[in-house]
Symmetry: C2
Subunit: 365 residues, 2 copies
């Protein structure tokens, strides 16, 4: 006991002093534990990140964050208000998507797989290396937005950039269809694909809610005893809907696209979970068991409110012996690579996504 | 030209709308570029991170950040003041290190390699898997602190935790010996080790300035035409001394151990660089060419002021086809794993360091 006590006392004293490893101090070490401190981080001006591309710098420096803050604070108070808000947002994105399709020269074919609406995006140039591989895309939108044609923005980008067909799932969402509808739909589509393809030839790809859903659905596949996909891309996955990640607090007001978790995001999480425990791994996959998962590519940014969701997912996967790679892009807010598309950062992310998929997916023969 | 213009216009419009992927908005999209916005991040209370170990939570919640802020603002104004400050800090750490050595039961042998003082740390239990491998440690301390016996804190931890001998280099530092003395000393020691060991059996390990120096020295080995080491561990490396990383601004006042780059850190960088360009890759390795580097393990935290230094190093290495892995620990401030030693987070970092070294180092036969 005496040795243990001495060890602990010395460890504490030493720990305090190792602070001096990076700090110069002539004051005496404090060996007494202190009461909980209230941490206040002062107001400060935030410069545009210095080590980013010119294209991204121009976008960030001219962005109006106040508008975003106002939007995020507007929480619909009834199902009717939710529907109104969602429909208005989706209508705008659908109108632009319709203009964008001919410009990108992608072919968009809506069809059903196992009763679920999906859209197969075919880009003008196909890389034959992807011909026997299946990319299943799950769209972002906080589990409430981007129904119908509004769901394919990221899928079109990926398809065009890597030269592969992408199947984007128009999964059901609240208010009409909260959890588990989204997971059930992905399970249905995946199960149907397994009849024609080896699981190792199928990748799940998605960002934000789509990234979280990719992880949650894979946990569901595992529970169902299905063979798991060959690779997963989760861009800044919404892996924890419980408002727990450190970056939700450290980067509040710094992320220019989400700005804050308070308000809309928190309300969307609750709307999606409905009567279910928000901590169930099929809603918040961070609380699941990732062992046996295929290789996972994770992407986030130094200003991403979901930096912690992404990094915690990576840590938990590594501890479960999953081949997970974490990529943190300088200056990027939440899924900014989907908004600031014409930037080297966005192109690099999709370039590495293509390489990652080719490295890990098997051909379906 | 018309098509290009149309594409650009649509891309811009689409980009603006894709914001709606995560945000609900009924307002019209703004298609006009706006002037540069002044970004102000408001004052806020910062809670203790929620998803960390109890041990780390206790430490963070009782830490006094105001004291750190005051310390970091005290910049020595002359060589005499620098020496005074350094000696006082080092004396405290040396006194504690002396108490700590018998508790950890490590053997510390100071000797010279190629005229440079090093210390070989031998832990009480040696893992035979490390017996033919050489771990060369470069200590933290902002290139000014931790001379002599104050240099071995991290080396003792690593040696004890992974069960390996560690050689820690007591490299020369300013004010007496600014750059390139530190790099020269590491080069001398490494060159001497190469006479007895295969390069693939040697690892460079270090945190903060030690992590940056590991990268800078490897760039120097490359320039000298030497075979490169078999693996590198760079914990939150000070890879860019030019005050450029985004996290220096986003996490200012959030990192409880460094608090801010202004003041001491910036002054230390200048003192170390002396008359040399602070952007030379042998001072700021982030500006070097990492191609040909061995596998690199990188560690940082969600509150680390050097998050961007670490993440940018990782990105640049990946683009140079280096097998680099980035690990972001929830809630950790800069090299907090060296200060909050008795935490699962600190132990996990060194556990994974040991696994990484065994995976990539060859035996020296």
């Amino acid at each position: 006991m005496h040795t243990t006590f001495k060890l602990k006392r010395l460890m504490t004293a030493f720990a305090l002093m190792v602070t001096a490893l990076m700090m110069i101090s002539t004051s005496a070490a404090q060996e007494q534990p202190k009461p909980q401190q209230k941490r206040i981080v002062s107001e400060r001006e935030l410069p545009t990140p210095l080590a980013i591309s010119d294209a991204l710098s121009t976008i960030i420096s001219s962005a109006d964050v106040k508008e975003v803050a106002i939007r995020q604070a507007q929480v619909p108070q009834s199902e009717a208000e939710w529907n109104q808000t969602i429909e208005a947002a989706d209508a705008q994105l659908i109108a632009l998507t319709k203009q964008f399709i001919p410009v990108l020269q992608v072919d968009v074919e809506a069809h059903q797989i196992a009763g679920v609406t999906v859209r197969t995006i075919t880009p003008p140039k196909l890389d034959p290396k992807f011909s026997n591989k299946v990319l299943l895309h799950l769209h972002p939108g906080g589990y409430v937005l981007n129904k119908g044609l509004a769901s394919i923005g990221e899928a079109m980008l990926i398809a065009t950039r890597i030269g592969a067909k992408v199947i984007s799932v128009d999964y059901r969402m609240p208010p009409a269809s909260p959890y588990p509808a989204a997971v059930t739909d992905v399970l249905s589509v995946y199960s149907a694909l397994l009849k024609q393809h080896q699981s190792e030839a199928i990748a799940l790809v998605g960002s934000s809610a789509g990234g979280g859903l990719a992880l949650a659905a894979t946990l569901k596949f595992k529970e169902e005893g299905l063979p798991l996909p060959g690779a997963i891309f989760a861009g800044s996955p919404w892996a924890d809907l419980t408002k727990t990640g450190d970056s939700l607090y450290t980067l509040k007001g710094v992320d220019r696209l989400l700005y804050t978790y308070d308000g809309l995001l928190e309300a969307s999480a609750k709307l999606y979970a409905g009567k279910h425990d928000i901590k169930t791994p099929f809603i918040s996959p961070l609380y699941g068991d990732f062992s046996g998962f295929p290789p996972v590519q994770l992407v986030t940014g130094s200003r991403d409110l979901f930096l912690s969701d992404t990094a915690r997912t990576h840590r938990k996967m590594k501890q479960a012996n999953v081949l997970a790679e974490l990529n943190v892009y300088e200056g990027l807010s939440h899924v900014e690579y989907l908004q600031a598309m014409n930037t080297p950062e966005s192109m690099q992310i999709h370039k590495e996504l293509g390489e990652f998929l080719l490295q890990h997916l098997q051909s379906s023969d």
